[in-house]
């Protein structure tokens, strides 16, 4: 298998220059905030994802963590894709990303839905790395639920 399928330029770019990194307080005092901390017990990677929402739109998605290039780039892409989106809309993207990662390389991603997330198509062919890519997305799902906004049905990574 070719290494550059896994480490696409887009992934390395998000890893070296992460977007929206760092935990932020909610700017709107009336808004709701949810936070979740997830760890990958096999490698010790961890991430904290915090969402701020007015109940309809994710006004901010902030995160902090440490881990491999895949897990950290994935958090950056998550931030890019879902911040500012309505909950329904975010759920569609979330579901598409989880489907892509669970697809063992057999799913063709839709760039209109997933944006830079399509770069992770190669990761789905490395079963040992799928959990890395999903770490922040699962934390996001829990954080959103804690803020009172459901985004996705239960998935098994």
């Amino acid at each position: 298998m070719q290494l550059d399928q896994l480490y696409q330029e887009i992934i390395l770019d998000h890893y070296k220059h992460p977007h929206g990194r760092g935990l932020r307080d909610a700017t709107d005092p009336a808004g709701r905030v949810g936070e979740a901390h997830h760890v990958n017990p096999t490698c010790g990677d961890e991430i904290t994802v915090r969402v701020a929402t007015d109940g309809k739109v994710f006004t901010d998605i902030s995160y902090d963590g440490m881990g491999c290039s895949i897990s950290q780039a994935s958090a950056s892409v998550l931030h890019e894709l879902l911040r500012g989106r309505a909950a329904d809309d975010a759920a569609t993207v979330h579901e598409a990303f989880v489907e892509l990662m669970s697809g063992r390389g057999q799913v063709t991603p839709d760039e209109d839905v997933l944006g830079d997330g399509v770069a992770f198509a190669g990761v789905a062919r490395y079963p040992a790395r799928v959990k890395c890519a999903l770490l922040s997305w699962m934390a996001f799902k829990d954080a959103a639920a804690r803020a009172g906004v459901g985004v996705s049905p239960e998935v098994k990574a």
Binding site: M1, Q2, L3, L6, Y7, L12, T42, C43, G44, D45, E46, M66, G67, C68, S69, I70, Y126, R129, C132
Partner: protein
């Protein structure tokens, strides 16, 4: 490099037993395969070792020709299986210089062996007539170290929770050595057991145990050595080490998975209450109560991993045939070579002793800021198999301030060319993540 002649009359380098690595490699079928279009470079033997044809043949032969349950059949197949199973026990006893084969208890692995001792402690603590050496409660202490594998931490944490005893530990120095400076305060009359790793699976450190053993004897505690990483790689003599228990696992020493060993001093095993109840471990059973077999049967409830035990006996024959002193020396040379080679990689930091003394052929390192997962992934694309992660030793990672490390580990079949492939692979990692 300058060389200094060793004065005559002193042991010379050529006196060290050696073996032909190429011939040894020919015994391991898996070493022929390719990974991702490259020759396999297997540097993960601390995780699990490969198995020579001699072991694979015995495993297959048992099922093909001698398969039967052990210790209960009068028929011929049952007798053959029992003789082979008990024969393996005797070989393993001889391998570690145990005074009696009855001191070798077969378990699933080292983890189960440590849990067995820990549960024997809690079972004894529930019975007033149990041997006081195994009775533990509030005020008593269990001593481990910061460099343990999780399998030598969690069972003792759980024992402390169940019994109210206190868990204490030796710290680790910046150089990855056991910090024995607080020995006399740490191991005291309150200590019931000291359970210590012999060779660290993450730092490679081989702990000198003599001072600790002496102190353990002074205070009347028991000593367990986790030899999972040492028995496969160096000559072990339980009499010489003066331990009370040692544990090790078959799959790291050319044997199959699913078979491990608890060795215990005979009179201690005899004083230990059973842990798992069931067939084979009893003397007699009535509906009201049971009495128990003598060790080792007392601790081997149910049908054991028969073929695996027999194959572990074959692994011990194989290792003995090459010679543990020769294997130890081979790995020492590899370690010296690898430490020198890794020192040439810019930004590489070794965790653990950086000299090939008091350490084995397991080297953990960080490559700049590149996450070990990414290091391992790039190396894998080049056929180089290393372990990345916390190596089931999270406290060590915490001690050195990293979430994970990359680890290369060697065995009798490892070559210096493979270490060169690792170093070349690390250059590739640096290119991808510069």
């Amino acid at each position: 490099m300058t060389s200094i002649a060793i004065p005559s009359g002193m042991p010379q380098y050529d006196d060290v037993p050696r073996f032909d690595v190429a011939r040894v490699r020919a015994d391991f079928p898996i070493l022929d395969r390719e990974v991702n279009g490259h020759p396999l470079v297997y540097l993960d033997s601390a995780n699990t070792s490969h198995k020579p044809r001699q072991v694979l043949d015995v495993l297959a032969e048992h099922y093909a020709r001698h398969n039967a349950n052990v210790s209960r059949s009068v028929h011929t197949l049952g007798t053959e299986a029992t003789e082979a199973y008990e024969g393996a026990r005797a070989k393993i006893a001889a391998f570690i210089n145990a005074p009696s084969a009855d001191e070798v208890v077969f378990t699933k692995n080292s983890t189960e062996a440590i849990n067995l001792v820990a549960y024997a402690f809690s079972n004894a603590s529930l019975r007033a007539d149990a041997d006081p050496r195994f009775r533990i409660g509030p005020g008593d202490e269990i001593v481990i170290s910061e460099m343990e594998h999780h399998s030598n931490i969690v069972p003792w944490q759980l024992l402390a929770e169940r019994t109210g005893a206190t868990l204490r530990w030796f710290p680790v120095t910046d150089h990855g050595r056991l910090d024995e400076s607080g020995l006399d305060d740490l191991v005291t009359e309150r200590t019931k057991i000291v359970s210590l790793v012999h060779m660290s699976n993450i730092l490679g450190t081989v702990n000198a145990t003599a001072r600790i053993t002496k102190r353990v004897r002074e205070v009347g505690a028991l000593l367990l050595l986790d030899c999972s990483q040492s028995v496969p790689h160096l000559p072990m003599d339980v009499v010489d080490y003066d331990a009370d228990f040692i544990v090790f696992t078959g799959h790291k020493m050319c044997g199959p998975t699913g078979i491990g060993v608890l060795w215990g001093r005979g009179e201690l095993l005899a004083a230990m209450p059973p842990v798992f109840g069931g067939g084979s471990m009893i003397e007699t059973v009535t509906m009201a109560r049971s009495t128990f077999a003598a060790p080792p049967a007392r601790f081997e409830a149910g049908t054991p991993p028969i073929a695996e035990a027999i194959a572990l006996g074959a692994a011990v024959d194989y290792l003995t045939g090459i010679g543990m002193r020769a294997i130890q020396w081979h790995e020492k040379e590899l370690t010296a070579y690898a430490l020198d080679a890794l020192a040439t990689v810019p930004g590489l930091r070794v965790f653990g002793p950086n000299v090939p003394v008091g350490r084995g052929g397991t080297i953990s390192f960080a490559l700049g800021d590149v996450h070990p997962h990414d290091v391992g992934q790039v190396l894998d694309s080049l056929g180089v198999q290393v372990r990345v992660g916390h190596h089931c030793a999270k406290p060590v990672c915490t001690r050195f301030g990293v979430p994970a490390t990359t680890r290369a580990s060697f065995y009798l079949y490892t070559t210096t060319e493979e270490i060169d492939a690792l170093v070349a692979g690390l250059e590739q990692v640096r290119k991808v993540f510069d």
